[in-house]
């Protein structure tokens, strides 16, 4: 019988069909679970473990305030530096009076020698005097040469010092310019960040106000005016809303003084029940929702409602 050969053929065919079907289902994007998942969504979830991160504006404002004071400080040490440089050049001058001192000293010794020699040999005196004069002249010459050498050395040193000072100055100038540039770039960046933050905040504020108006409209639509309501009455309500838009609780934080009016406001909120657009907001921008609508106070004022 040919059963054994066909056994493999049918087996291969079965397997190929099975896996081909599987691949087809995968490629056609078959996913049966998602419908069930949607059904299983609870009506609301309360999770209070969220840390609302306040948007940048406040830290951005404080940051430039902190970073601006340091800017004046780098220039501060600079003015004193040129001053110490000026006292340095005069230094070479004081040494000049010093070289002449050796002259009198040489005179004295020569004179003393001459006096001692004079009583003994007059003939030798002349010679001695001549030698003394010669010595004196030699000494003077040596002193002068020495002084000149010292002078040139000092001048050289002074020049080097000046040069070094100039280099130092140039370097400091470059460093100062660099620091200023960096500071400027930093300032610009901070300004840009601040502007962006301000814009974001403005946009957030705008959407907050539009959503606030929406909430107010919804509540006003559900409000039935009690007979005791007056135009100047106002009641402050604290409303808690979960991200599904469902109102979780209303509390009167400041009464209008008229319990009937307070009650009417509370029941208006309860009747509104659910704010669909807040749910949208919570989905679109959870941060904004958490910050402004999770728990907010609403001043309910009949005059807003054009009574």
């Amino acid at each position: 019988m040919a059963r054994r050969g066909s056994g493999y053929r049918t087996a291969v065919l079965c397997s190929a069909l099975l896996h081909g079907g599987l691949l087809y289902l995968l490629i056609s994007g078959w996913h049966p679970e998602f419908h069930r998942r949607e059904l299983a969504q609870p009506s609301y979830i309360e999770a209070t473990l969220l840390q609302v991160e306040r948007p940048a504006p406040q830290p951005a404002k404080s940051a430039p305030a902190k970073s601006e004071p340091p800017k004046p400080t780098p220039p501060a040490p600079e003015p004193p530096k040129p001053e110490p440089l000026k006292p340095e050049p005069p230094k070479p001058e004081p040494p000049k009076p010093e070289p002449p001192k050796p002259k009198p000293a040489a005179d004295d010794t020569a004179a003393k020698q001459a006096e001692q020699v004079a009583p003994e040999k007059a003939a030798q005196q002349k010679l001695a005097q001549e030698t003394a004069v010669k010595e004196k002249m030699a000494l003077q010459k040596a002193a002068q040469e020495k002084a000149a050498a010292e002078k040139t050395a000092k001048e050289k040193a002074a020049k080097e010092q000046e040069k070094a000072a100039k280099e130092k100055l140039a370097k400091e100038k470059a460093a100062r310019e660099k620091a200023e540039q960096e500071a400027r770039a930093q300032r610009e960046q901070q300004q840009a960040a601040q502007q962006a933050a301000e814009q974001a905040q403005a946009a957030a504020q705008q959407s907050v106000s539009t959503y606030g108006d929406y909430v107010r409209d919804r509540i006003a639509g559900n409000w039935s005016r009690p007979p005791s309501a007056r135009r100047d009455m106002q009641v402050e309500l604290q409303i808690r809303i979960v991200p599904t838009g469902q109102v979780m609780g209303v509390v009167v934080t400041r009464s209008s003084g008229d319990p009937a009016f307070d009650q009417s406001a509370v029941s208006a909120v309860e009747r509104a029940g659910r704010f669909d657009r807040l749910q949208e907001l919570a989905r679109k921008d959870p941060l904004l929702f958490e910050q402004y609508f999770r728990k907010f106070t609403l001043v309910f004022r009949p005059e807003d409602l054009r009574l």
Binding site: A11, L18, G29
Partner: protein
């Protein structure tokens, strides 16, 4: 968002090792299904053959006639079932030994039993082919799938580390992608485990049937030797 997470998108978007793992598992699944179907057909056929042969054997027909029928089928290149192979081996050995003059009855029985034992072990081998492969697919493919998953989750968390805000939405696709590998591993392993267990018991049953038949047949031959010998 639900559209983005269909299985195919997850598979295509997976990292290379995960894709490799998926490919291996897909191949293993395909092969194991080939073997499941082939073994199922073969073992069912073997069981039916055993029943049919036993019924013809015990119907009281001539053994020589049965042997000659088998010869004809072999010449026509047709299938000879496992039990019949055992029977033929034993009967051929018996005839050969019986034709020799002065053969000791005990040695004839021993020779027949030996011949049938050889045929039995050959048949057992045939019954057991592919079963070790099914066993290894069953035990290994969950691990391969797990490896793919672990790798994918590692990648997902590494990607998460690069982000500023750790949200569930950032990791969830990566983890879903990684879990596809485990799903694939289980998809390959579960049928293989079931089939292996089922086929192992079936092989045991059929082989037990063969053994019983061999014992009974050697008993018959034993009886025949002693009746003709006396």
């Amino acid at each position: 968002m639900t559209n983005d997470l269909s299985f195919w998108v997850l598979i295509v978007g997976a990292t290379l090792p995960v894709k490799f793992v998926l490919l291996i598992l897909f191949g293993a699944s395909m092969l194991s299904w080939v073997m499941i179907v082939q073994r199922g057909l073969y073992l069912r056929g073997a069981g039916a053959d055993l029943k049919r042969f036993e019924s013809t054997f015990w119907s009281g027909g001539d053994l020589n006639q049965l042997f000659n029928d088998g010869n004809v089928r072999l010449q026509n290149n047709q299938h000879v079932p496992g039990v019949e192979a055992v029977f033929r081996a034993g009967f051929r050995e018996f005839n050969r030994l019986n034709q020799q003059r002065g053969a000791d009855p005990d040695s004839i029985v021993a020779g027949v039993e030996r011949a049938m034992r050889v045929a039995l072990s050959r048949e057992e081998e045939k019954l057991n082919t592919h079963l070790p492969f099914l066993a290894s697919v069953a035990s290994v493919s969950p691990y391969i799938g797990l490896f793919g998953t672990v790798w994918g989750i590692m990648q997902a968390f590494r990607g998460l580390a690069g982000m500023q805000q750790a949200t569930l939405a950032a990791v969830a696709p990566g983890i879903a992608e990684a879990l596809v590998a485990t799903a694939m591993g289980l998809f390959a392993a579960i049928p293989a485990v079931i089939a292996y267990n089922r086929f192992a018991t079936r092989v045991e049953q059929v082989y037990g049937g063969y053994q019983t038949f061999a014992e009974e047949f050697s008993g018959i031959l034993h009886r025949r030797i002693y009746s003709t010998g006396k």
